[in-house]
């Protein structure tokens, strides 16, 4: 869970002059790259462990890598039954003819050794056609961290093949939902990006909504109805300590961190009017950013912290606006048919993702931060609240289904989609789920 130490970098190929394989992710990929992920070879000298089946660890790590690749829609992990070469030999020197015979264009090999309660993992990425090694890396960590190792390896390979930052070694915080629609029980939950390692952070005694990470993923800000007083809270994930943010005489909601993590920006509702405020977490200084008789909510900073996008009905219905971070220079940027909500600024700074409602249908879309170039990615009965993957290539959001007369058939699930509009898929959760928020990369 703590730090992962990169003790040894065997060889990192920075030479892009070769025309090695590349995956273009800027458009929908209808021809995913065939990749063979050989099971990692488990060194025979490895110690036995109580909780982990060491002999199976090589297979487990490679299947986590495979499922990460499969989830991107950009790669096609090949069936292991067709692999001819043994993992240990392939890792030393692949027989490229064998791998190209099963149409693999990229090959991942590796080996692991467990000694003195340390897990040492090595992996290599090979270009099969060019018969060349593209990446080779080794890590040492505690054995219980093996899933994170698999995610980090996935990130390194994704980065080498696409030229983009990875997003597999990340978590998603969300609201777990159980019970009937009229009396939903909601708990904060956190999981790995692939839906594994779920932990519940609150007990469900009070309603909780809209959790969001700080930039270092140690703190979460969210709305809690503790003692029937809806207020923005701050939670330290490691210690479990929670505190109210600020001392407001009414409901505070829609919180997010500033990109430097020093402030929380949120709405405060008073006498039927919601405005946007910030609070500095160190000095506790509260600043009013918007002052308008309309509803101003769902604020989100640009990654450089200079601008804020937000949702306001000052023109009559919900629309998206941007302003300078001090509240000056307010500009409406959404002008299409329908109403717009939940703007959230891309970590790359170029795009704003949003929810749009038109003719009774809900859309997740993106537009440039000046409002041009609107693209709707997905349409459904009800979906909202997009959150960006740390590399700005995907959005995670939640979708609710239509319910019958007694609330039957109602579900809330997490979904993700590429900003190309391709690769829409559900993220499996133990319970119903909503309000997802994606962390930054855990290992930078």
């Amino acid at each position: 869970m703590k730090k992962l130490f990169f003790i040894l970098v065997i060889f990192f190929n920075f030479n892009y002059a070769y025309s090695l394989i590349e995956v273009d992710i800027t458009r929908g990929n209808l021809d995913p790259l065939p990749i063979a992920v050989s099971p990692l070879h488990v060194d025979a000298q490895s110690d036995n462990l109580q909780d982990i089946k060491v002999k199976e660890l090589g297979d487990l790590i490679s299947s986590v890598i495979e499922s990460n690749f499969k989830s991107t829609g950009l790669f096609n992990p090949l069936n292991k039954d067709a692999f001819v070469q043994k993992p240990d030999i392939a890792h030393l020197k692949p027989r490229f003819e064998d791998w190209s015979l099963i149409t693999a264009q990229a090959l991942v090999t590796g080996k692991i050794l467990i000694k003195d309660n340390k897990l040492k993992v090595e992996f290599r990425l090979w270009d099969v056609a060019a018969a060349k090694e593209m990446v080779a890396l080794a890590f040492t960590t505690t054995p219980t961290n093996w899933r994170r190792v698999a995610h980090i390896i996935s990130d390194k390979i994704y980065e080498r093949l696409t030229g983009e930052t990875g997003y597999f070694d990340t978590r998603i915080i969300y609201v777990s939902e159980t019970g009937p629609k009229t009396q939903r029980v909601k708990r904060l939950a956190i999981m790995d990006q692939d839906g594994v390692n779920v932990k519940y952070l609150t007990l469900g005694n009070e309603l909780v909504l809209t959790p969001r990470f700080n930039p270092t993923n140690q703190l979460v800000t969210y709305l809690s109805y503790f003692r029937n007083l809806p207020r923005v809270y701050l939670l330290d994930i490691e210690t479990g300590i929670q505190e109210v943010v600020g001392n407001f005489p009414g409901m505070t909601f829609a919180p997010r961190f500033s990109p430097d993590g020093k402030k929380i920006i949120m709405s405060f509702a008073e006498n039927g009017n919601s405005d946007i405020y910030t609070m500095d977490l160190e000095s506790r200084l509260v600043e009013k950013i918007t002052d308008h008789s309309a509803i101003d909510t769902s604020p989100s900073y640009s990654p450089d912290g200079k601008y804020i996008c937000f949702n306001s009905d000052r023109s009559g219905l919900q629309q998206i606006y941007t302003m300078n971070s001090d509240g000056t220079n307010v500009k409406r940027i959404s002008f299409g048919d329908g109403i717009y909500g939940t703007p959230v600024w891309s970590p790359r700074g170029d795009l704003i993702a949003f929810t749009k409602v038109r003719a009774g249908r809900f859309y997740i879309g993106v537009m440039r931060s000046d409002g041009t170039g609107e693209r709707l990615l997905t349409e459904n009965f009800y979906q909202e609240a997009p959150s960006w993957s740390p590399n700005g290539r995907l959005l995670v959001f939640y979708r609710e289904t239509k319910s019958g007369n007694d609330g039957e058939g109602f579900t809330a699930k997490l979904w993700s989609i590429d900003i190309t509009g391709y690769n829409e898929r559900q993220i499996k959760t133990e319970t119903d789920a909503s309000d997802p928020s994606w962390s930054t990369l855990l290992s930078k």
Binding site: K181, Q183, M251, A269, S274, T297, N311, E384, F410, S434
Partner: protein, 160 residues
């Protein structure tokens, strides 16, 4: 603030005329249970006392009080004037057809519209607290226009 109440008053006048004109045509079709998309039936309604309904309903994306809503609130104000020790909580709600955060703000605005009206009929603001549940606590869990109209509400609840 002044500007704000002015707009609100203007809206109240505007919507009451609209609602009145709508009422005259809607009477024939009263079985539908809504006027425009404001719920006018009594399913889901509870009573603070005989004849005193506990809730008022709203049109989509609106926090304007209809003629019927103002009538209900005047009865609530009468009742509260007679029960001087009683404090109330105004719970504002939205339907499931909006984004969560905006709905929280909208619920708060609806609850305050009802609170303001009670205050103009002499009930001290100190006796009325407000809470918004946004779309979190629907009373009817169906995904139908009728259910949504029943869920867009401000409910006056006796404070414990």
């Amino acid at each position: 603030m002044k500007f704000n109440t002015k707009i609100r008053n203007l809206l109240i006048i505007l919507f009451s005329t609209l609602a009145l004109s709508a009422c005259s045509t809607a009477k024939k079709a009263s079985t539908v249970g809504t006027t425009g998309d404001v719920y006018t039936g009594t399913d889901t309604v509870e009573y603070l006392a005989p004849g005193v309904k506990d809730r008022v309903f709203f049109a989509t994306n609106s926090s304007s009080l209809t003629t019927a809503s103002r009538d209900t609130l005047r009865k609530q104000a009468d009742y509260l004037r007679k029960n001087k020790d009683m404090n109330v909580v105004l719970e504002g709600h939205a339907d499931e057809r909006g984004t969560r955060e905006y709905n929280l703000a909208l619920g708060e605005r609806r609850a305050n519209a009802a609170r303001d009206y009670l205050m103009t009929y002499g009930i001290s603001g100190k006796r009325i607290s407000v809470i918004s549940y946004g779309k979190e606590r629907p009373v009817n869990s169906a995904s139908t226009p009728l259910a949504w109209s029943q869920n867009r509400r401000a409910v006056t609840v006796k404070a414990k």
